[in-house]
């Protein structure tokens, strides 16, 4: 599925929730299910220090697509990471470079991608794009 298709699927899923509690409970559960990043990849180099919560991201090129794994020490942050990974992982670099994250607003989680939140997520999105740019250069 393309990034846009996945984003629309997520928007559909979230539209079923009646209130913030259901939305958050879903995210928390997603956070719990997120396949953890391998301990070996939880390195200083892979860490994004968000002041409030920490985020680790690891990227690897699999044929012509990027596979991301990630983790956080806070579960709500992890839930949002799970959503971002679902959208961006296993996609070609150029698609990742071109994608936007406005679907986050549509599912009512905008506040978590605010730079003032200091949870590492804004930097994480930037990091995903950086990886994509790096791999795109490599593929060219």
């Amino acid at each position: 599925m393309s990034i846009e298709e996945i984003q629309n699927e997520i928007i559909d899923e979230f539209s079923m929730f009646e209130d913030w509690e259901e939305r958050y409970q879903y995210m928390i559960d997603l956070g719990k299910d997120l396949p953890l990043i391998e301990e070996d990849f939880k390195t200083e180099a892979n860490i994004i220090k968000g002041c409030q919560s920490k985020v680790w991201v690891h990227a690897a090129l699999n044929e012509d697509k990027i596979e991301f794994t990630a983790d956080s020490d806070a579960i709500i942050t992890k839930g949002i990471i799970a959503i971002l990974i679902r959208v961006f992982s296993n996609q070609p670099p150029q698609a990742i470079i071109d994608a936007d994250t406005s679907f986050i607003d549509q599912i009512g989680l905008k506040e978590h991608l605010s730079p003032t939140r200091a949870n590492g997520l804004v930097s994480m999105v930037k990091q995903l794009k950086m990886y994509a740019i790096a791999y795109q250069t490599q593929l060219n």
Binding site: W20, Y24, Q25, Q52, S53, K54, D73, A74, I75, I76
Partner: protein, 404 residues
């Protein structure tokens, strides 16, 4: 009579809704809310008196100067400083600390020691580190114990004739511990060291008597005491303020300027370069008036009651651990739920309209001591209620249910 419901009517913001819920504001240690009386003082200033001070011959300037200087006098009386000119208006605690640290850079030399406590706010650590880099002096740290109390015998052991300066906060912002500052002041003076106390967390709760304490420097911010942001005070004993060089150059702080030499103005203007936060200074005075009308004894009694009520209720929640359990503490509760990140708890509480602080509270060394990423901190003011404590407790239970 202390009547919290009447008091709450003075704070327009307390009737705000947040995320569709009534605001429960429990982040008072970061910034206190502002009563209408203080807001009025600011509005009144800009409506009737706005002018630059200390330099105009005209009526407005004269009136503005009078109001500003009357606020300084109020602050002097509130803290019982000996002289009005020992009160320096600053932009806040951080500014006051930097002003003193900068002043000491011309006094300290290699081989001298500065002692700070392990309970410090970052703003109380970084300026001293910078000072040490500039002068070659050494920074020594008074360690804390599990309850969040400073270990006095360790402080005694650090003191020597090389100790030139001691700094610590009166009350810790992260844990709420009330430090026995009279002990530190006496001991520092015994070895001839100066002592600066950070009163950012104490002045909202108690009324320190600076002459009786015999402290050399004392700093605070108005925004912690129901006043506006961007203004605070540095108290310094006259002899110390005379000794320290000015911090910034500019208008107001000079007596005479030629290109050969400038002579500095007398205290307090020597340390007040440029146009100050005039409305802020005046509103700072209004905030002290407001607090004094309620009375610090009544405030303290009520806040202690809230603290005990909240501590008891919160400890009933299984897996909740409170950090900072000193017998001497103010109405601050730093806590974590077992296995749950403080950021997650804070996020759920925010959804419920409850404002708390999460993170390391600018006191990373304390978090390192406990080996935790941070805490959730609820800090109560005299306008908080038991019903709000109940809302917090319910909120924590809900967060625990959702997150575990």
């Amino acid at each position: 009579m202390f009547n919290v419901e009447e008091i709450r009517k003075d704070f327009p913001i307390l009737s705000r809704k947040v995320n569709g819920k009534s605001l429960v504001y429990l982040d008072n240690a970061a910034t206190s809310q502002t009563p209408q009386q203080v807001i009025d003082a600011i509005v009144e200033y800009y409506t009737h008196y706005n002018a630059n001070i200390h330099r105009g011959v005209h009526k407005l300037s004269q009136e503005a100067t009078d109001l500003y200087e009357a606020a300084r006098k109020k602050i002097q009386e509130h803290f019982n400083a000996k002289h009005t000119h020992e009160i320096i208006f600053t932009s806040g605690t951080t500014h006051g600390i930097n002003l003193v640290a900068n002043g000491f850079s011309s006094i300290l030399k290699a081989g001298d020691d500065i002692i700070v406590s392990a309970l410090e706010h970052h703003s109380n650590i970084v300026p001293w580190q910078m000072l040490c880099e500039r002068t070659g002096a050494k920074l020594k740290v008074i360690p804390m114990n599990e309850e969040g109390n400073l270990i006095l015998s360790e402080f005694d052991a650090l003191l020597s004739k090389n100790t030139k300066l001691v700094f610590l906060n009166h009350i810790s912002n992260a844990l709420g511990t009330i430090n026995p500052i009279t002990y530190f002041i006496e001991k520092a003076h015994e070895v001839g060291a100066a002592i600066l106390i950070d009163g950012a967390q104490s002045t909202p709760h108690i009324k320190p008597n600076l002459q009786e304490l015999d402290v050399d420097f004392y700093v605070t911010s108005a925004h912690k005491i129901c006043g506006p942001t961007g203004v605070g005070m540095l108290y310094g004993k006259e002899e110390w303020l005379k000794k320290l060089p000015p911090y910034q150059g500019g208008g107001e702080m000079i007596a005479e300027v030629t290109f050969q030499k400038t002579t500095y103005a007398d205290l307090p203007h020597k340390f007040e370069a440029g146009t100050p936060n005039i409305s802020g200074g005046i509103a700072f005075g209004a905030a002290l008036d407001y607090m004094n009308a309620i009375g610090f004894d009544a405030i303290q009694t009520y806040e202690n009651e809230l603290l005990h009520y909240a501590t008891e209720k919160m400890l009933e929640i299984e897996g909740l651990k409170i950090y900072g359990t000193s017998k001497h503490k103010t109405s601050v509760i730093s806590f974590n739920l077992k296995g749950i990140h403080p950021y997650d708890v804070g996020t759920i509480l925010d959804k419920l309209g409850i404002a708390v602080r999460t993170g390391h509270h600018c006191a990373q060394p304390i978090m390192d001591y406990y080996k935790i990423p941070g805490t959730v901190r609820a800090s109560f003011a005299f306008y908080n209620t038991k019903a709000e404590v109940d809302a917090l407790v319910e909120g924590i239970k809900k967060a625990k249910m959702m997150l575990s």
